[in-house]
Chain length 457, copies 2
């Protein structure tokens, strides 16, 4: 009698970890030209692992930059198809001196795997792969449903190639639901499904004042100042309480269902800890009549990411700056339209540009918010699988961030995404000493396998 | 019978120019370590020229950085003493590729001497020196009054050494009036004395928000943003018309006398040209009920010289910045006190720092405005000399900038300064192709000599 998936996973834990270590040792830093070979090696490792797990039609698909890896197993007619997504590329590890152990030499400490990419996202990709292997083993070389894998190598640099690939391969990628494991549990021990992501419109504003930098003694008082003008403009964007004053900004904001709000209220949350340990400021900000979860998950934002202009070196220079720029974004929520919101913002900028200056607004990217109906059968079964694996009710949360691929899948393939992330909020993604809890690696393999078994039943 | 000063000047024009060329060939760039020897060579050249002109007690005075040059002639008992000031150091010439002829190879084109330092300030220092030589020659080895020279080599880098030297040598530098030629005529052909300079308080503001840069997806809406806070604060500093809203900002502002305003109104001024050719913006700004001369000469300002914070590279990064900084200054007018004004500004910043942020204001420098009474005998006689040399009434203007040495002389020596500059507004100080009009060089020698003759009569 063959082992059950759980038995197989338990019996093979040590090997799974060794294999994951091998994967993590490849410095597949997508942004650095000197790591191109490593990124390719990681693509090959991914493809080989998918083949070993029992998947078919494994392909390393060349792109303009880093390859995509595809694989499938489609021998469960009448059963649903799940499209598994992940990324095998990683962020640069610097500053290196802040790592306690080398970023590409995975090390186990206090139950955590320390390595760049451990949580984001190789550890979670490998969770999917090993779940397939366990299912294949437990189900005599078959899977309980159809699966497709699409793993990219450009997630940390914007995902241009997959964004091109998806709309051109709709038939090939056709599925009932996508499974993405690139997020975190709400907190340790709490089974969590993310069912909403904010959208994003990212913009650049350039302000032109005088024709050249002017001497502030000779012209100060009569000449426009590009920095001061940009500051005056952006200073009008919000009231003192953080409410955004762009006309129409909140017009299409959909409020979360009462049940969703109620479930957020039941989440363990310590505002003092959030302020002191996470934000590290003297006070929180934002709309006072909204709870923190609303502010970061279901309310749109206007954020200034950076500003530059004039003299900012050491000491004093009495210049009236000719130009100034700022990076600004709007996080969008359902049902805000990125195109319409960009137009509103641009119109507001033009209408409020201080006299003597010319403002230009450029859109760098735009994507709408995505929400998944928690009553969708896949979400439902994922929640049940999670509950079974972890022994408590699954919570439904949102994330204030954006995962562009979720939008691509929704837009081009017409499918929802199960966001089943096994990271933890303090995993240190993109930071030194990135970690992934070893128990969560195994737990994730079990949960993914349980989800597939339920969904294929 | 000896030549008159005018005759002597006319007879020696060619030699004066050759000597000035030699002076201009020394690349006495005070800010660059590799030019230390050149700066010393220029000090020596200055000292030698003063000696040759007939001055006594010539000294090259070592300082912490670049030497001061002192000289005097004090054999006119009962006559006034004039303290002549200038600087022999120059700005770096870059960008070199924009010069039509090399910056340290003086070249005559269209009646102008093109060279770094030609107008700012070697050409004007040399004007003083040659006036002395001419007077000595015409007055049989004597001068009509007492003179002291103090020429510095750090004007372009802040003048730290002379600022230290003056208060420690009050007796040595005792005089009735200072003569500074480091400014420009109001316009070509218009004899001009500057009788007012704005003061300056230069500050740095640092804003601290969250403890580290935060992900704007995860925290956006609830976490304070240091850039947005600094922008919100500075955006409140002025109303839409440019009026400054810091409490008490205008409390001690002294209005110019009606006669002064009237004379400004009589100056040739084309607002369209000022806007289009000088400022190069789409409109002028500032207090609408004030004429341009008031805005730049007799009204205080609040200027943002630069701002920096967060991500400003190419592309997009969704960060909530932890810190932001800005360089800000106030130009002061009579009777504003730099200490009091800094306190007011700091108090306003603290009172208006947006929630969740901490603002620190640091003062980098502070100096009050200086004005000279146009009825002072020296000013009067300088105006008469100018009128005689140029054949039309001398105009009295102010400058919106600050010349710190004028404040030092007023504060420590208790003397007013005659600001008799022979540059032109388009001389391109600190820019490529700096020039000095040859006629103004000779005209300046004549005018300075005439001033000394009148003042000593």
């Amino acid at each position: 009698m063959p082992q059950t998936t759980d038995q197989f996973i338990t019996a093979n834990q040590a090997r799974f970890l060794e294999e994951l270590y091998e994967y993590l040792r490849i410095p597949s830093i997508s942004t650095l030209p000197e790591n191109v070979g490593d990124v390719q090696a990681a693509a090959k490792f991914t493809a080989d692992a998918l083949k070993t797990a029992g998947l078919e039609n494994v392909e390393i698909i060349p792109t303009d930059r880093h390859p995509l890896v595809y694989a499938d197993w489609l021998h469960a007619p009448g059963k649903p198809t799940v499209l598994c997504y992940g990324h095998y590329d990683v962020q640069p590890p610097d500053p290196l001196e802040l790592w306690n152990t080398p970023p590409f030499e995975p090390t186990l400490r206090d139950g955590n795997i320390y390595a760049r990419g451990s949580s984001d996202d190789k550890g979670q990709v490998y969770m999917h792969v090993k779940a397939i292997e366990a299912l294949m083993h437990a189900h005599e070389g078959k899977l309980p449903l159809n699966v497709k894998f699409l793993v990219e190598g450009e997630e940390e640099i914007g995902g241009a190639s997959i964004a091109k690939y998806v709309p051109l391969n709709k038939e090939k990628l056709k599925a009932d639901v996508a499974l993405v494991s690139d997020t975190a549990l709400y907190a340790e021990g709490i089974p969590t499904l993310c069912i909403g992501l904010r959208g994003l419109v990212y913009m650049e504003i350039e302000c032109k004042g005088p024709g050249r930098d002017l001497h502030s003694g000779l012209y100060g008082g009569a000449a426009p100042n590009a920095v001061a003008a940009l500051v005056a403009l952006l200073g009008k964007a919000k009231d003192d309480k953080g409410r955004i004053l762009i006309p129409g900004f909140y017009d299409e904001v959909a409020e979360p269902a009462a049940a969703e709000i109620a479930s957020w209220k039941s989440l363990p949350f310590n505002e003092k800890d959030f302020l002191e340990k996470e934000v590290g400021a003297t006070a929180l900000t934002g709309e006072p009549d909204r709870m923190i979860f609303e502010r970061v998950w279901s309310r749109p934002t206007l954020e200034i990411h950076g500003i530059a202009g004039g003299f900012t070196g050491a000491g004093a220079k009495t210049v009236i700056p000719a130009t100034a720029t700022a990076k600004v974004s709007m996080r969008l929520v359902p049902d805000q339209d990125p195109v319409k919101m960009f137009e509103r913002f641009s119109a507001w900028v033009k209408a409020n540009a201080p006299e003597g200056t010319v403002m230009e607004v450029r859109k760098l990217s735009g994507a709408p918010a995505t929400v998944v109906n928690p009553d969708h059968p896949a979400i439902n079964m994922a929640a049940e699988a999670f509950k079974e694996a972890m022994g408590r009710e699954t919570v439904f949360i949102r994330s204030g961030g954006s995962i562009p691929i979720v939008g691509e899948f929704a837009h081009h393939l017409g499918i929802p995404t199960v966001l089943m992330g096994l990271g933890l909020p303090d995993d240190g993604l993109h930071s030194p000493n990135e970690k992934y809890k070893l128990d969560n690696f195994y737990l994730g393999i079990r949960t993914v396998a349980k989800f597939f078994e339920r969904y294929g039943a």
